[in-house]
Symmetry: C2
Subunit: 133 residues, 2 copies
DNA sequence: TTGGGTGCAAACTATTTGCATTCGA
DNA sequence: TCGAATGCAAATAGTTTGCACCCAA
């Protein structure tokens, strides 16, 4: 994704495209991946200009609330951000910590109970935990 | 659940029944609930003898590894321990933080991809996130 | 008795926050 | 210009750890 596309992506999501946000987004959307804030901080600062820790945290919080990325809460120790913003689920290897995607259209969840009148579903997450034999 | 049953439960799970572990287990299995370590620490110490913070954390880690309770990673800030040890799933209200169970036999997950030969499924977790209207 | 269990406090680490500075529009 | 964004460092909070003491078997 080139820079102008990244800028457009941010604007479409109602996010002011600052230098730091563009750099972080460009890195995230190189490919679909699962990254921690610290990893993002380290990788982004390898190339390009410097981005501070606080800005990475602020930015990832913003991206999440704007629907650009999804938080994946699987690891006790840190939040992972998923740059695959299509609907999908996860397979988590508890031995290796490896996290991979399952395309959504392969999986169906049936039999959910009726919800209370005053709530709506905002997301359905399926996590398959696997371990090595 | 009375004390002798708790002791039996621990022994069945290959856990040495110490005073602290018995107290923590007795509290957890009063009823099915979702509790943080700090909550467990506070509640257990309301009644009965004193249990230290480190022991609560150690004990919950042990109970988890022995399959007595399940960790629920939904809240960014803390781990919840689920004392419902039947297979089931969760509904999480992102507005209130309320976490409730869905009986497993109501829900079916279909269409999972083939796994690599060298892994096995150790758990399937479905989380329905809801928000207030 | 004796190795595992416990308690305390200090250490650790991901994340958040206060505030002064800088930047985008 | 000027409010929003950033950077830095300090603060926060859940969890882990080191180590001396204690207890279950």
């Amino acid at each position: 994704m080139e820079r102008s596309e990244v800028v457009k992506l941010l604007q479409n999501h109602d996010i002011t495209p600052t230098r730091q946000r563009i750099e972080i987004a460009a890195f995230l959307f190189q490919r679909e991946q699962h990254l921690s804030a610290e990893k993002i901080l380290a990788e982004v600062n390898l190339s390009s200009h410097r981005v501070s820790r606080a800005t990475v945290y602020n930015t990832m919080g913003l991206f999440t609330s704007k629907g650009l990325v999804r938080e994946v809460l699987i690891d006790r120790d840190r939040v992972f951000y998923d740059s695959n913003n299509t609907q999908h689920h996860h397979i988590y290897n508890v031995d290796t910590g490896e996290l991979s995607d399952i395309e959504n259209d392969r999986v169906s969840v049936a039999g959910l109970p009726e919800l209370s009148d005053n709530v709506q579903i905002v997301g359905t997450e399926v996590i398959i935990k696997v371990s090595n034999l």
